[in-house]
């Protein structure tokens, strides 16, 4: 077999170029930290990675939603705790008010405190969040939920809507309860509400004719408030649980993605030095072979 001079030259050059390409690829992989530089390097893995990226992005968003839901529910919890405190105080005042030692004047004083507490309760039902949305207004979040004409007529202007938040692909958690559920529905009498009970209590005192009957109504309101309060707590816990599930979903997706695309640094580094050595060898071989010419010897 013979070989032409240009073939000798090209073969040497090609050997160098091949090593350079390998070197370029592995150093690019090291720089990017990814063994997939183009989808064609591993088409199936690339399609999977697209899906995993989406899963991870969604898990991030569910996390964000959960935080949002938690903070909304916390705001509601705070308002409801205050409402329960208010009703506790009303209950104390009610017991105090029926006491036979009370006079018209002292009952008027208690009634004055009762009015303050009523205003506080109305304010609580009209609680708004950082964006100015009324949290107990149902879907009508920009309409003040409770209005009072000053004569014992309380009107609920919201609706019975409850906003939900996606905390996972198929799981929604309610982040609001309308005032109609919490403040307006006393369990034993659908015509009465938290506010009418309070109003009854105040007017009874002001007319100096309190009765112990009011205590039953107050207890019904408190039961309603407490049960919603614990329902909110339960939702908080379920959000937390779902967050943990989301975290583990995300971690699994990230691990899978890492297996598919992350470069194995140890392996890549050893490949790098291997290709470097090969490149040097190819260069040396090229230089030595190219120096060989019969013309050099002929002088």
């Amino acid at each position: 077999m013979r070989i032409s001079t240009s073939q000798m030259f090209l073969q040497g050059l090609r050997a160098i170029q091949e090593q350079q390409v390998k070197l370029g690829t592995v150093s690019n992989q090291l720089a990017k930290g990814s063994k997939i530089l183009s989808p064609s390097d591993d088409p199936a893995a690339s399609a999977t990675i697209i899906g995993l990226n989406e899963d991870i992005s969604r898990a991030d968003q569910y996390d964000r939603n959960s935080h949002f839901a938690s903070s909304r529910l916390e705001l509601q919890e705070t308002a409801m705790d205050s409402a329960i405190d208010v009703m506790q105080r009303i209950r104390e005042l009610a017991i105090l008010g029926v006491n036979g030692t009370q006079t018209t004047d002292t009952r008027a004083d208690i009634a004055t405190e009762g009015r303050e507490l009523l205003n506080q309760m109305i304010a609580l039902a009209n609680t708004s969040d950082a964006n100015g949305e009324f949290i107990f207004g149902g879907f009508k979040s920009q309409t003040q939920p409770i209005t009072h004409d000053g004569a014992g007529n309380f009107t609920y202007n919201g609706d019975q809507g409850r906003r939900t938040v996606l905390v996972s692909e198929n799981r929604q958690v309610a982040i609001s309860d309308s005032a109609s559920d919490i403040f307006l529905s006393a369990p034993d009498d659908s015509t009465e509400s938290t506010f009418t009970v309070m109003w009854q209590f105040i007017t009874d005192l002001e007319s100096n004719s309190p009765t112990t009957d009011i205590l039953g109504d107050i207890d019904a309101v408190m039961t309603r408030l407490s049960s919603t309060r614990s329902d909110v707590g339960a939702r908080q816990r379920s959000i937390e649980l779902q967050s943990q599930l989301n975290d583990s979903t995300r971690i699994r997706a990230e691990q899978t993605r890492s297996i598919l695309q992350d470069v194995d640094y140890a392996e890549a580094s050893s490949e790098l030095s291997q290709y470097l050595t090969a490149l040097q060898a190819a260069q040396q071989a090229f230089a030595r072979i190219q120096n060989l010419s019969l013309f050099n010897v002929l002088g």
């Binding site: 077999m1 013979r2 070989i3 032409s4 001079t5 240009s6 073939q7 090609r14 183009s38 989808p39 064609s40 390097d41 591993d42 088409p43 199936a44 690339s46 399609a47 697209i50 899906g51 990226n53 989406e54 992005s57 969604r58 991030d60 968003q61 964000r64 939603n65 839901a69 964006n131 949305e133 207004g137 879907f139 009508k140 979040s141 920009q142 309409t143 007529n153 309380f154 009107t155 609920y156 202007n157 919201g158 609706d159 019975q160 809507g161 906003r163 939900t164 938040v165 996606l166 692909e169 929604q172 109609s180 307006l184 529905s185 659908s190 015509t191 509400s193 010419s293 019969l294 002929l298």
Partner: protein, 651 residues
């Protein structure tokens, strides 16, 4: 004595030829396509002497090139295959990178958009959240447009390259025809020696042609070579060359085809007959990767926009306006823009194409061809080859007979042979835009709500435990409700009644709890046990600005399997596009690597015969120099002998 001198002189002249040929070989060591040459000698006719024959020296018979026709042909075909796969790969890898690039890829943009959708769902009255959603929608649109514009630029590049290749091929063809002429003249000159350098030059041209398109050759007796391309089109016959030209596509003037003309007449289109070489690579890339990728991207855009719009239509915005009364959330391309009549036909036939929104999940990214045979129209899916026949001159193709998310209506008076090319999703990406200008117009709320009846102060009046879900609209047509609908429960009959009739439907708490019911196009579920006379009211969601129900349904479209007959989400479809292009690119890469190896081998075997080796030439130089010196010595000896004789006789 005279003959010794004659012999020596013939040797000197021959070795001079040898030295010159060696020099020529050395000089052309780097000349592409050069075949090393050698001098063939033979002895001169001997002179008859009394005692026998005496040699009379050497003569040069011919200078020939070291050449193997079989190896040359092998080299040509391997170079065609190599350069075709190289061109294909170099273009394919650009699409491959483009689709997955973190900066331009659709994937992250879709993710960000749906994140913004969920943020609006969390906080539907927040104008900044709504604004962000609109700008993320813009980014999604920009991403579609960017990828499509890059693909379109590649398409332009393919057109430019086709033009360049065609003009180079024409130069080569006329070069070969010219050389055929020169070679015929040189061969006929009677020297008996082949015109080596002309032959090399022509072989080199044929090799360059092979690099552009697959060729086959037929040697002629007069030394000419006839060249054929495609499926037997005669590109060079003797001293005449054909002309290739770039022609506009019969349907789409922006698409270029390759025309072929030999002698007079109008060009015939041979685009689909060409293969191999850079030209073949360009055409294959356009057919297999570029056009399908644009169609597929357009399909994802159309599907996304259609399904998102449909859900958006079923909501109400911050001001209580129904989504269907607002501009579409996304403005979708008009498939009519991608209906191409046969530019050469003058009939009045027309084809109208529309997306079938209700069946958009069946939409394909395929091209279609309509053809009228004089009686019926036939629709052919260009990708699958499946045909559907529509009876008569004005048939309709729709979900019933086609089932591919399209409605195609034909009108006018067609003549036999009329054709249309349809590429319904081709401009889906480029013509996509966000149609909603005002963040308040995002229809985050549902148009209706269902709640318990309330007294004058807003206190619910029901006494039972029955609960109705808030209700979702299923069709925009029945909205907004003309008036509220009150459902009244009759516990003795276990049924709800409503309206003037009244209309009733059964609900038994024991068996129907959790079931879904529909009243006036509003879908809801019922749970619990309503008390006798309990009432529920279905009403327009007036002032329900804090409602996010429609937004959640929109957010859930991210994972909704609304494409590929309900088997893929938008992101799935995009992932499949990436995988599809990736697989083709990878195959091209593998093919290129293989073909390059084969071409290298073919080149090596070819050069084994024809290539110049400088060491070999150095040795030859030495050998011929020595022979030349020896012949010179013979002349000296001959001269000395003559002197001896002169001296002897001169005394």
């Amino acid at each position: 004595m005279a003959s010794t001198l004659g012999i020596a002189t013939s040797a000197l002249l021959s070795f001079q030829r040898n030295l010159a040929t060696t020099g020529h070989n050395i000089a052309n060591v780097n000349t592409e396509g050069f075949s090393r040459q050698r001098v063939d000698y033979s002895t001169q006719v001997p002179q008859e002497f009394g005692a026998g024959f005496i040699g009379s020296g050497v003569k040069v018979d011919a200078i020939r090139r070291n050449y193997d026709d079989f190896l040359e042909r092998q080299l040509r075909s391997s170079i065609s295959a190599r350069d075709s796969s190289e061109m294909y790969y170099n273009l394919a890898i650009q699409v491959d990178d483009l689709l997955a690039d973190q900066g331009s890829s659709l994937g992250p943009q879709l993710e960000n958009f749906f994140k913004a959708v969920q943020d609006v769902a969390n906080d539907p009255t927040s104008i900044p959240a709504r604004q962000l959603m609109l700008s993320e929608a813009d980014s999604v649109v920009e991403s579609y447009k960017y990828i499509d514009s890059e693909l379109s630029a590649l398409s332009q590049r393919v057109n430019t390259e086709l033009t360049n290749e065609v003009s180079e091929i024409n130069n080569i063809l006329s070069g070969i025809a010219g050389l055929n002429k020169d070679i015929a003249i040189a061969s006929g000159s009677g020297t008996g020696s082949p015109p080596n350098d002309l032959l090399d030059k022509r072989d080199q041209l044929i090799l360059e042609l092979s690099s552009k398109v697959t060729v086959s050759t037929v040697n002629q007796d007069d030394g000419a070579i006839n060249i054929f391309i495609g499926n037997g089109q005669a590109a060079v016959i003797g001293q005449n060359a054909a002309t290739l030209s770039v022609e506009r596509n019969r349907f789409d003037a922006s698409q270029q085809d390759i025309g072929f003309t030999f002698g007079a007449g109008s060009p015939s289109i041979i685009t689909n007959n060409l293969s191999g070489g850079t030209l073949g690579g360009l055409i294959e890339f356009r057919q297999q990767i570029l056009d399908p990728a644009r169609n597929e991207l357009g399909r994802i855009a159309v599907s996304m926009a259609t399904t998102f719009n449909a859900q958006h239509d079923l909501g109400v915005d911050l001001d209580g306006t129904l989504g269907s009364a607002l501009p579409d959330f996304f403005t979708i391309s008009d498939p009519q823009d991608e209906v191409y009549p046969d530019l050469d036909s003058a009939s009045t036939a027309s084809a109208t194409v529309a997306f079938d929104n209700a069946n958009i999940t069946k939409l394909t990214g395929d091209d279609y061809r309509l053809r009228f045979n004089g009686t019926n129209w036939t629709l052919t899916n260009q990708t699958t080859g499946v045909t559907v026949t529509g009876a008569g001159a004005t048939p309709t193709f729709n979900d019933a007979n086609l089932g591919q998310g399209l409605t195609i209506t034909l009108a006018g008076a067609p003549v036999a042979g009329d054709e249309f090319l349809l590429r319904p999703t081709r401009s889906g990406s480029d013509d996509l835009s966000v149609g909603i200008p005002d963040p308040r117009q995002i229809a985050a709320a549902s148009p209706v709500r269902i709640q318990e009846a309330v007294g004058s102060t807003g206190i619910p009046t029901n006494t039972g435990t029955g609960e109705l879900s808030f209700g979702n609209a299923t069709a925009a047509a029945t909205l907004p409700l003309a008036s509220s609908i009150t459902l009244t429960y009759d516990a003795s009959l276990n049924e709800f009644s409503y309206g003037a009739g009244p209309t009733t439907f059964a609900y038994d708490p024991a068996s129907d709890a959790g079931d879904t019911f529909t009243v006036a196009g509003i879908e809801f579920t019922i749970n619990g046990s309503p008390a006798d006379g309990d009432q529920f009211v279905i009403e327009n969601n007036t002032s329900g600005v804090g409602d996010n129900r429609n937004m959640i349904l929109l957010a859930q479209l991210q994972t909704g399997r609304v494409m590929n007959n309900g088997t893929a989400s938008y992101q799935d479809a995009y992932g499949q596009l990436i995988a599809d292009v990736g697989v083709k690119t990878r195959r091209a890469d593998t093919l290129y690597t293989t073909q390059r190896g084969l071409a290298d081998n073919a080149q090596m075997r070819h050069d084994e015969v024809s290539g110049v080796n400088l060491d070999e030439e150095a040795a030859n130089l030495l050998r011929f120099q020595q022979a030349y010196q020896a012949a010179s010595r013979v002349i000296v000896v001959s001269e000395q002998l003559f002197q001896t004789l002169l001296n002897a006789t001169g005394r």
